[in-house]
């Protein structure tokens, strides 16, 4: 999952739907743990500002 920090409003909504616990809001920054993130895309559905982008190549390679 790619993340555009410029678009983030630091609300934490994405954390509530991340099943792998890969997101953390610290000192007003969202941090993604890419090692555990499985690119499920749930955070990108919830984010009010569209700060997440699915990494298309990574996802295709999983199919």
């Amino acid at each position: 999952m790619k993340f555009d920090i410029e678009r983030c409003g630091y609300c934490g909504a994405c954390i509530s739907v991340c099943p792998t616990g890969s997101l953390e809001l610290t000192e007003n920054r969202i941090i993604i743990e890419n090692k555990t993130c499985d690119d499920c895309g749930r955070c990108s559905i919830i984010c009010p500002l569209g700060a997440f982008f699915v990494e298309v190549e990574k996802n295709l390679s999983k199919l």
């Binding site: 909504a13 509530s16 919830i46 009010p48 500002l49």
Partner: protein, 383 residues
Amino acid sequence: MKYDVIVVGGRIGGSVSSLFASKNDVDVLMIEKNPEIGVPLQCAEATSELTFKTLGIQPSKRYICSKIYGVEVHSPDGTHFKMQPSGDEMGYILDRKVFDKSLAVESAKAGTDIMIWTTVKDLIIKNGKVKGVVAKHLDETMEIKADMVIAADGVGSNISRMAGINTLYGVKDVGSCVQYKMVGIDADPNYMQLYFGREVAPGGYAWIFPNEDGVTNVGIGIRDSNETAYHYLNKFISNFNGMPFEMNVGGVPLSGPVEKTYTDGLIVVGDAAGHVDPLTGGGIHLATSCAKIAGEVAAEAIKNEDTSAEFLKRYEEEWKNKIGSIIKNSLKYRKVLDKLNDKELNALARFLKGRDLDSITSTSLLGLVKESPSLVRHLKNVL
């Protein structure tokens, strides 16, 4: 450092629970990660007199922006009608940056210690029981022991997850919200405007709430959409000639409370516990009610020297007693509303226009059956 109770989060859930724990003579520490309580704003600030009745205080002019008599509902085809609440409770639009701070001040006056600009990073857990927190302020990391912790850290509560409580939501269960404070929008100063429709706000609604001095809060909450809430809000405001000067974002849990709101040495309250009305997305009053119970039960637990899950269970029993049926009913209505398409929403708006809810009779419903049989089928369970 050692306290009886540590409260994580310093907004409504945190300040109200710490206030009622401190009032009952226990040592309380409240920790808030932001440098200023109530900031950033993540709320459209509407509540009712019930919040103040629960708190046992008179609402103060310092944080009341406007008095609200009811809502005006707009359907997709522009049909609109006004509704007043069935009780005689006054509604209010608050200034939450001031309101939240005033609650924290009340709590401090009752004896609560407050740490601002400090983040709880971890829980201290011994033999399966929460025994305190690990908190970080700038470069300093500290262990603070306590007999119990109240998690009031908002939606998706990390703190409850650390204690083994499942706070994970489905994507359809969280409202994705964004709002502007705006000038230049002509709004009735005593009514909240709500706009429904798939094109306006899929799975939710858009709102215009009057603040003071010609300022309005214009926002939107949506669910499970390909486009962002930001996209829909900008589309919505293009219908009006207003100027935004502040923007806020947030997520609202809309599927009711998390499965369990207590464990050994910890209780969870407010948005963290899913104490939000699933129909309206309103959490101020429910968080206040549950946080009051949380503070009182925490104080009882300390006095009884028993902060086990067995003892803290009474917290869940008490809040379910108080607000469980509100959440259940709202969830039922929300599920019906989810099923309605724009045509059915328009038919419902035309039916409700000019009627008060108590005056609906079986004869008047027959007319609705003729106009939209599918709508009546959907409404069957709530009528």
